[in-house]
Symmetry: C2
Subunit: 491 residues, 2 copies
Amino acid sequence: MAKDFPSRADNYAQWYNDLVIKADLAENSAVRGCMVIKPYGYAIWEKIQSVLDRKFKDTGHSNAYFPIFIPKSFFSREASHVEGFAKECAVVTHYRLKNSPDNTGVIVDEEARLEEELIVRPTSETIIWDTYKNWIQSYRDLPILINQWANVVRWEMRTRLFLRTAEFLWQEGHTAHATREEAITESETMLNVYADFAENWMAIPVIKGTKSPAERFAGAIETYAIEALMQDGKALQAGTSHFLGQNFAKAFDVKFLNQDNKLDYVWATSWGVSTRLMGALIMSHSDDAGLVLPPKLAPIQVVIVPVFKNQEQLSVISNVVKPLKKSLEDKGISVKYDDRETHKPGWKFTEYEFKGVPIRVIIGPRDVEQGTVEIARRDTMEKEVLQLRDLENKVIHLLDQIQKNLFDRALSFRESNTYRVDSWQEFKQVLETTGGFISAHWDGTPETEEKIKEETKATIRVIPLNNPREEGTCVYSGKPSSQRVLFARAY
Amino acid sequence: MAKDFPSRADNYAQWYNDLVIKADLAENSAVRGCMVIKPYGYAIWEKIQSVLDRKFKDTGHSNAYFPIFIPKSFFSREASHVEGFAKECAVVTHYRLKNSPDNTGVIVDEEARLEEELIVRPTSETIIWDTYKNWIQSYRDLPILINQWANVVRWEMRTRLFLRTAEFLWQEGHTAHATREEAITESETMLNVYADFAENWMAIPVIKGTKSPAERFAGAIETYAIEALMQDGKALQAGTSHFLGQNFAKAFDVKFLNQDNKLDYVWATSWGVSTRLMGALIMSHSDDAGLVLPPKLAPIQVVIVPVFKNQEQLSVISNVVKPLKKSLEDKGISVKYDDRETHKPGWKFTEYEFKGVPIRVIIGPRDVEQGTVEIARRDTMEKEVLQLRDLENKVIHLLDQIQKNLFDRALSFRESNTYRVDSWQEFKQVLETTGGFISAHWDGTPETEEKIKEETKATIRVIPLNNPREEGTCVYSGKPSSQRVLFARAY
């Protein structure tokens, strides 16, 4: 399998695409820009969902479900939202097909035209705030803390599996609050939930910050984001949390009686992560031998491969493996025992290596005799022979160690690829050579931001939270600046 | 709340609709036919999903995800499928909006017309079999056992919350097999999974059977179904499992090399349940005081309501309740302690009764002194005062008892509303009075089936599995018949 698989250095984009397809994570479908998420890829997504869902519930949120369609007119209600979202979207205009006159197929029935077109949701603020209007009368109805797991559609011209697809899966939280302060706290809480998840589950170090006005969510007062650095030196936005102020409450006329018995508009937040996280996960850790998965999100944490010549040998090995497997599973570890006779051990080694299974255990007839076993870790490819009786403790310990090592490795990569830059020449040079995060002074104007983007394709990824004040001059315009911000080319 | 709430006898349809809305389960949205599933309703759906998902995985299935859009031409590939599904559906024709010339809103950009229209999936056989084509070469690639949790859209003219909505949530299993026998076994296995879930989790007795040709899924060779009887004497189809033969493999040209090294078409099944189950759940058990939920699917199984006059009393009560709550939760029981001061105890009693919480516990200052507590069960409304120290055992026992009682009650209702009918006059009379299941002879022709439907709105719900052979004459045509089938009016 690894034979016709390109290395990262050869062709990073091709490496990523081939990896996604050959590791059975996802593939392109017959519908332009829409992907099929295959069982192995979906199993990782289910793990992501399950952890996040628990975190959302632990922070007081409930799930609900809102319609996939949004009336076209809803988008025009919030001025900047329509600019950001209503343009590239799937438009439903009819509700019936009929047989074609020549009876060779079906055609759109022109008599079944909708009075008002429906948009397949690109995000749900509008339909949700139209609903919240009926749920909120007084401060006693607040806060509303709701999350939705759903599919959304944004008509992208250039798509890449997981990273940018016309349809993708995500969760979108939509909360309503009585005060500005409470809404801001909510946006920050959810940013921290995302950062905790990225670092402690996905093993991806992230930088928390706010977006520049030009990069804000369409309709937000403030957009918080976590940014990660991929192995090719490009940044990836891994989650956003928006403080929406009273913009959507005003657009949908959602007022409430506050504790002083006065009418006021409701304060809002929204926050989301998507199947894009799969792209971040893949690109952060994987290598030229295929996928590398952090143990906490790996569908299979340990694979046991028997090496045998005949049924008799297999049965001796299985007698040892089966209780071992059960014992590991009882400790919550997911174990696959691949005793298929249709594939050779060597094929299996490559297969599970390519699919990023964190730990591989090999056991043959001589191992059984000697009470030994070989264990290999995917992250470093190190192998070790140990006593069978020590295997269980070793596995438990190693899973933790791999999880930690992946994070440390990604952190160290990011640190050595973050550059403090003070000249325009150096700025361009970093982007043209290694890539990475560039910490540089910016004069704070959208004009400068736009010019930097035009000339280098780099954008301001975040203004880091608790950013130290520092007097300096803008790396592009030379005008005065009071802080450094983080630039990078991005996915 | 119960004041303006109609009884089942008064107006069953209104009772159902008001119940769904007032129990905070779901509501209609701004988009015709699409519902909003509210947090309390969605929490029940999450429980349904979680149990079924476990059952699917235990029977060897994995989840995956396929595109929401299906190219229009795919529907024409399977002749009967297009008749059944392609007609009433949401059609995406454009992929962009633009500002209107007068700048007051957005309009469809006619330049962004799709070359081929896309259909929002009403079911996914076509897109999935188009995908399977690339996954299957030999018998070694089989079986494929995949399930998808997704939203689907069928353009319904008359909609009712949960029972019939334009968009609904469901799961659809799609499996591929090397032999006819294996595919039939799979359809039957999944029918049994559904029946087990309906009876042992939803507490709804169901009849398993096959559909008559007229009621089959569009494209199936055989449709298996489970049918339940609602309290108004109408039947509700609670799940279907289809043996699709080689129809979709032929339509999408999916062949495989079998063990004899010969090319053959792949055998298929599909099976699904939807948010319609919520309607079945509500209608099976609920009463004139509101929702009644089986404990195994209740988001809140026990609510504890303190009765207090002041903070001091509340704090004394809370000291007793908090360890009790924790101890119940440690046993996997979901407990809500509603110590809000903004609502009176009486209001809370009605509220939780209306929301179908299986067990209510009331505790006041005198209870604390005397070491007693009052417990009430929702299904029978019986109350009992017991020693506080006995409460935990009582709750555990009572949850089982309520679960069993709801099933027994529904079963007994169904039994007393199933009629063995031998004359056309009696057939019509049953439908005009009590409703219910009618077991009657049918001559086996679609013509008779159609005429019965025209004259009475009753349809053949199922031909029960293992139906005894019995010579007789058709209740409608008087022609010879070899078995009784089950008729009813249905949702």
